[in-house]
Each structure stands twice: as C-alpha cells, then as structure tokens.
C-alpha cells in the first residue's frame, strides 16, 4: 500500500470497485454468463485452490499450490459457458439459484493500470425444491485492470473457507 496508506482512502476508486462487483454479481445471478465473460481480460487467470487443514505450526499455506477446483483461462471459461447452453448440461437443469453477496471490498494496492482488491464472497445456492440451500464462503483476491477506461477482471484467486466442499458439484462461478 506504500504511499497510499498515509493518504485518505480513495473513495472514488473504492466506489468504482464496488460498482464493478455489484454489476458482476448481477450478471452471474441472472445467468448472463457471456456478458460476465466480457468483464474478463483476455489473459484472465481464474483459480480456486483446494484448502487443506495443515498443522497449526506448518509454514505451508492452507491454500494448495498444486491442487485446484478451478484453474481457468479465458478459453476454458468460454468452453464451460458454451456447455451450459446445451440442453444436456444436467448440472444446471434446473438452473442453480444463486445470490452473490460481495462485501468488505478492500483496495490493497494500485500499480499502474492494475488494482489489487480483496473482497469477501458469500454465495447462496439452491436448486429445485431443495429447502435449505447451501452457503459457500470465500475471500477473493482479485486484480482489476483498467482497459479503455473500464475495469476488467484480470486475476481471481478464490480462497474458500471450506476444505471438504458441502456440495455435489461446482456448476457456478464465484
């Protein structure tokens, strides 16, 4: 945060990030996945590492550097979205109802056109007549990049608060 730490918070930048996330969440929750993909830079890195319970004294991160639930680029995200359009994509039939709650948005660093932003995600999912739904909690470590004046997502590291996933499959984006 170097210099900026001594300055007043940059309300405008913060507001711009929050607006980006609100818009992104809306696209995800309304299943406008092709528009969602347009929010990504072409070199997007979209990862969800496994989280592993380690010894308390361990110097290894709980977030695996080898094991992932998602390790995507633009093309693999595009292929996943294309599959969801098929009438044979059973994991999304009926479609999962999702609600992305994005909070605690923190602009951690500004480097040229790029912002490092941490935020919290609470994702509610329910499908069919499932009464209680599933709640997934995570922190997202993002890099937002300004391209032609607009913010785009260039990197996302989804850091789950779960080790064993409480869901039968991952058929949504975080």
């Amino acid at each position: 945060m170097s210099q900026r730490a001594t300055q007043k918070p940059d309300h405008e930048l913060h507001y711009e990030c929050v607006s980006f996330y609100n818009h992104e969440a809306e696209l995800l929750d309304t299943k406008e996945l092709e528009q969602w993909l347009e929010l990504m830079t072409e070199d997007i890195r979209y990862d969800m590492p496994l989280r592993v319970t380690r010894d308390r004294g361990s110097d290894r991160s709980e977030f695996s550097d080898e094991g992932f639930n998602y390790r995507e680029d633009w093309s693999t995200l595009d292929a996943r979205i294309e599959r969801f359009q098929s009438e044979f994509a059973w994991s999304e039939d009926p479609p999962t109802r999702t609600r992305h709650f994005v909070t605690n948005v923190r602009v951690k660093d500004v480097d040229g056109d790029e912002l490092s932003v941490k935020n919290n995600l609470l994702l509610f999912l329910a499908q069919g007549e499932e009464a209680d739904g599933t709640t997934i909690s995570a922190e997202r470590h993002d890099v937002l990049r300004r391209v032609d004046g607009e913010l785009k997502l260039a990197e996302r590291d989804i850091r789950l608060d779960h080790t064993v996933l409480p869901m039968k499959n991952i058929s949504v984006f975080f």
Binding site: R71, A79, W90, V164, K168
Partner: protein
C-alpha cells in the same frame, strides 16, 4: 523395508491392548438379511432391489461386512514420500492416519488415543515425527509407539508402554504404489483379493515410464448419493456416456469415439474379473492412443504384448475395484481448442450415511513427464473429472433421486427393483469375445451391464460373508 515388494503386511493383528476387550461379530438385522437375500435372488434376473441404495440397517451392515472385511484403498505411496509424511484417511467411516514412519515403513494407524480415545491427528496432511494427544498429552511416535506420558512417574508407574501404542489396521499392503488396508485379521492377501483384475490394473499402473505420481491433494466433496452409485457407475456404465455427457462431447472436451458409441466394434466390457470390472473404449493398437499420453512417456517394459496393445488402443477406461475404489484413465481436454491429453484419476466413494457419501479424487500423471505436461494433465483433469469437471458435474447431477427413491416406503412396500438386464440374453447384441486375451469375461460391445452386476454380485458375496472375487451370478451369461 522395501516398498516395492508389494507385500508389507506387518504386525500381528491388534497386537496391542485390544484383546482385553471382547470383540463383536458382524451381526446383521433380520430386515437387512431379507434385503440382502433379495439381492441374491433378483440379481440372477438382472434386477437390483432399490433398498440397497438407502437403508439404515443395510448401511450399518455394509460398514461391518464390507468395510470391516475387504481391502480398502487408503492412498498412493507418493502422497507420503518422506519419513513423517502423513494424511488422514478413512476405512468406511473409521478414522486412520496414513503415515510413513521414521523407518520408511507405511502404516495405517487408528486415529484415536489409547488413553481415553481422543483424536491425535488434527490436520488433513503434513509431516511429523510424533502425534500428541491434546487431551492429557500422551505422545506417540509416527510408528504408533507410545513415547511419552505426562507425569508418568506419579501417574502410570506400572504401565507397559509397549502395550499402549496406537492401534493400527490389521493388514496393510502396497500394490505398485496403491496402498490398501484391511481391518480384518484374516482373509486373502491383497494380490489374491485383486485376483484377475490385476491384469487390467497393471495396464494403467505400468504403462507410464517411471510409473504414476499424485499431483496435489485429493479433491473432497459431499453428495446425497449412496457410495455404491459411484462404484456402480465406474464399474462400468458405458451406456450413460452418450446421454448424460452429451454436452461434453458436443462442445469437444473429449472425442466421440470414446463416448461408448454403440456399434463401434472395438469397444470391450470386461466383467467377472474377480475384484473388478472395466469398460475399455478402444480404437486399434496402431492408433497409439495410450490414454492420451505422448508416446515418449509410455513404456512396454513391464507389460505383456497384449497389455501394451490394449493401452495403445485405449482412449478411455473406467473400472471399479470392490468395494469403493474406482479409476478413470482418459484422453480429454479442458479446452476444445487444445489437443487431447491423458491423466489418470483414482476415486474413492466414502460412505458417510445411508444415501450419502464423501467423494475423494486423486489426479495422477506419469512421474517422468515434463513439468509442463504434468500441469497440463492436471488442468485437463480439473476440467473433466473434479468437482467442477465438465463430465463429473453431470454425473453427480444425474444420480439425484436414486437414494431418495431407495429410501422410500413405496420402494419397500412394492419391492421396487432397478433394471440391470442389458447384455442378458435377448437384450443387446453383446456377446462374449472368445478370442479376448485378458482374464475375466470380455464382451464385444459396451451395451451390456454385466460390469455393474459384477460389482453388485461382489456386494452380495461380501454381505453374505463369502469371499469376493468370483462370478456371481453365473447364470446371466
């Protein structure tokens, strides 16, 4: 000791303090007994009673008769490559520590302090010389030996520490890197248990130069499906690929030739190969498919010509080793614009409750492949067979309802049974391939369900206290 000798049975069963407490037999309730008998009868007709997929008393009996008896997969030796490496694992619902001890021996220790029973291993995996119980501080070496007792001189002067080390699985064996354990004192050796299926397992484990190694930690996730739904599907159900996974083939995550397409003369199902059965999606050996591996990573050194030719022709294979270990060896891609590449995945269907399981999945790659290839193969696995896998998402989705219906009163009152008759006389064109060079019974078409009947036949055998690894029922042929 050497890990390569494939035989590391050690310790007399329960040599520690367990003989002070009487043991219980694997009793089964009369209700469970009736359901099991029903399976024995109806399976001969190719019908499987629904109740097996969700019944409290069946589940309790399975934990004892199957998971208390059979060889159960624990992990791959590459997960614990250094002394002190450990991972927490389960046999049925029972907690164990899979550990390489300070002498290099792989052990499967019961994760319960011998003092008052608390859990001594808190992490999913790590490296340690000792496990210390948080309750009163007893400390065990990674060999299981009791090494420290707080206030011992005042509190436990007369205790023989040799008698109070951690309990361990009665028998532990390593087959080509795959570590299995059995909590039964007696029974067939692992190799006897695997039986004829070894021939097929060897194709997968020996095709890569230098063998296979695990990348990363296993994926773990929960589903409202019975553990047998996974085992049944991989055992193998070739019929579902073209329908359940149609979107995946359409988008181009895998080749149409491996989708189990009917009428493709080279496909084979192998049933009744003792502990297992398998679906082999084959082209011709000249096609040099090798599950999608580049040729420089494969070797014919440890395989017969027939086994090597099988690998050369094979684009995809699934199989199940009774009870709950399955595998897939697959040429696929996570990106339709990229070429198909191979990976191997081991999967374990861990029983959690009737109609509920925890899914464990490991990704393996040729140990001597380039780092770039290993990472690419891992990405392909994530994109196809993982919680987010484009294939696997749909498997878990289509199994919905099986356990719910199985738990219904309706199924009970009406004797609902599911149809597993494909391949039986008058059903499909599948017939036995008399020229097949491998063990078991090979079928010249994937449109048959003897694979699934092999799994459920083994289930019937185990539940009636018979040794698995046979042909049951034989009549269906």
């Amino acid at each position: 000791m050497s890990l390569d000798d494939g035989d590391q049975t050690h310790g007399t069963p329960c040599e520690r303090a367990c003989e002070r407490v009487p043991t219980l037999e694997h009793e089964m309730t009369p209700r469970a007994e009736r359901i099991v008998d029903g399976v024995g009868e109806s399976l001969e007709e190719g019908v499987l009673p629904a109740k097996v997929f969700n019944d409290e008393e069946i589940f309790e009996a399975e934990l004892r008769r199957i998971f208390g008896q059979c060889w159960v997969f624990i992990g791959h030796e590459s997960e614990v490559s250094e002394p002190g490496d450990y991972a927490r694992r389960y046999i049925g619902k029972d907690p164990f520590i899979f550990v390489r001890d300070e002498d290099g021996e792989i052990r499967v220790l019961f994760d319960s302090c011998t003092h008052h029973g608390a859990k001594v291993c808190k992490a999913e995996q790590g490296n340690t010389s000792h496990f210390r119980c948080p309750y009163h501080g007893w400390t065990f070496k990674n060999t299981g030996d009791l090494a420290g007792i707080p206030l011992r001189d005042q509190a436990f002067q007369g205790l023989d520490t040799d008698e109070w080390g951690l309990h361990e699985a009665s028998r532990v064996e390593n087959y080509k890197g795959l570590v299995f354990a059995s909590i039964a004192d007696e029974g067939p050796s692992l190799e006897e248990y695997l039986g004829d299926f070894k021939w097929y397992l060897d194709v997968h484990l020996d095709i890569a130069e230098g063998g296979l190694e695990v990348i990363g930690e296993p994926h773990r996730w929960r589903a409202d499906s019975d553990w047998k739904s996974g085992a049944d599907n991989f055992s193998a159900d070739s019929y579902h690929t073209g329908f359940a996974h149609r979107s995946v083939i359409e988008v181009g995550f895998a080749a149409n030739e491996i989708s189990g397409t009917p009428g493709q003369e080279t496909q084979r199902h192998v049933t009744h190969a003792d502990s297992g059965s398998t679906s082999l999606r084959l082209l011709e050996p000249e096609d040099e498919v090798f599950f999608g591996y580049p040729e420089e990573y494969v070797t014919d050194e440890n395989l017969s010509d027939e086994q090597y030719d099988l690998a050369a022709a094979c684009g995809a294979a699934t199989g199940t080793i009774f009870p709950n270990l399955s595998f897939i060896h697959l040429a696929a891609t996570n990106d339709p614009d990229k070429e198909l590449d191979g990976f191997f995945s081991l999967r374990k269907w861990q029983p959690v409750a009737p109609g509920e399981m925890e899914f464990w999945s490991w990704v393996l790659v040729p140990a001597e492949a380039s780092e770039e290839y290993k990472q690419r193969a891992y990405d392909v696995a994530v994109g196809t067979f993982s919680p987010s896998g484009n294939f696997e998402q749909d498997d878990l989705a289509v199994w919905d309802g099986i356990a719910e219906a199985a738990g219904s009163v309706y199924a009970e009152k009406n004797g609902v049974g599911y149809n597993y008759q494909m391949g039986m006389p008058g059903m499909s064109k599948a017939s036995i391939d008399e020229d097949w060079h491998g063990p078991g019974t090979a079928w010249d078409d994937n449109l048959e369900e003897g694979t699934c009947r092999t799994f459920h036949g083994n289930w019937y055998k185990a539940m009636t206290d018979q040794e698995i690894g046979m042909s049951y029922p034989e009549d269906h042929i």
